[in-house]
């Protein structure tokens, strides 16, 4: 009974917390008034937009998610240097671009979205398209001599971790 009432008032607790945090960061001060205003926003917006959130992503292992974020941040720095070297030191004729098809094992839309975003942000690869039944990902690689190795790295480095986080 209590749980049902609580579920009605706070349909999306993570979103409420996230909105409160964003509001506090935006006004840049932690006072009672601002926390209250942030809570009101955090309760109103999920309440109004509830029809847009039919199911909720389940994060099975939050610690793994933190590790994943740090890994991706590090990879973004490395990616920048890699792409910088390709742009500066390789002529256009020497750059071998490839299309790479990555078969997907993760099934939840959130995991696929995060995987696509990660691929775009990391070394020389951009996600371009998803298969119509969401079973494969089309990736454009700026420069590689071994497309299969890139595919295996994406699967091993990112998809395996996402699978652990979401399933």
């Amino acid at each position: 009974m209590l749980k049902a009432i609580l579920n009605r008032i706070i349909p999306h607790p993570q979103l409420t917390g996230f909105l409160l945090l964003t509001w506090l960061l935006l006004v840049n001060s932690i006072s009672t008034g601002n926390v209250l205003l942030g809570l009101i926003i955090g309760l109103l917006i999920p309440g109004i937009t509830q029809p847009f959130w039919p199911d909720r992503p389940k994060i099975a292992r939050p610690l793994k998610a933190v590790e994943y974020v740090l890994l991706v941040l590090w990879d973004i720095c490395v990616a920048n240097v890699t792409v910088a070297r390709i742009i500066l030191f390789k002529s256009n004729a020497n750059t071998h671009s490839h299309w790479i098809v990555v078969p997907l094992e993760v099934r939840s839309p959130e995991a696929i979205t995060i995987l696509a975003g990660t691929i775009t942000m990391t070394p020389g690869t951009v996600t371009s398209m998803l298969a119509a039944d969401a079973s494969h990902l089309l990736v454009h690689c700026l420069h590689t001599d071994d497309p299969d190795a890139v595919r295996d790295e994406i699967k091993h480095r990112y998809e395996r971790r996402l699978k652990e986080i979401f399933e």
């Binding site: 973004i76 298969a131 039944d133």
Partner: protein, 127 residues
């Protein structure tokens, strides 16, 4: 302390400037739209990210005014950059690339931009 912060802020600014310039240079130098997509999405995010973090350290150390707005802007840019890149790639493929130029999916259906399947069989809305 102040000296370390000064060196850190200067280094971040110089690195960010170089990467920002490199992103724009890549946009000019590379010869195909799909290739060009790589330069700005990566180099510019680090460029702006570096400037934002330098600005946060600067305001916190030298003006005693710690703000988290920079973190918000950085997070916003890092979240939106892949989405923008994906949209631009899709628009480019829609206009200029035929399906026969792409590798096959290896699955039952083609790529989402070219192959329409019925809503009943669609596990995820890919449109």
């Amino acid at each position: 302390m102040e000296l370390i912060a000064e060196i850190l802020v200067s280094a971040l600014l110089v690195i960010a400037g170089l990467f920002g310039l490199l992103g724009s240079w890549g946009l000019v130098k590379l010869d195909d739209t799909m290739r060009r997509l790589h330069a700005p999405t990566k180099a510019t995010t680090l460029g702006v990210g570096g400037v934002l973090i330098a600005s946060m350290i600067y305001f916190a150390v030298f003006l005693d005014h710690l703000t988290f707005h920079e973190l918000l802007i950085t997070a916003f840019l890092f979240i939106t950059a892949p989405i923008t890149a994906n949209f631009v790639a899709k628009a480019h493929m829609h206009r200029d690339i035929k399906e026969r130029d792409l590798p096959p999916t290896g699955g039952q259906y083609g790529w989402a931009g070219y192959d329409e399947i019925g809503d009943a069989e669609q596990p995820i809305d890919t449109k």
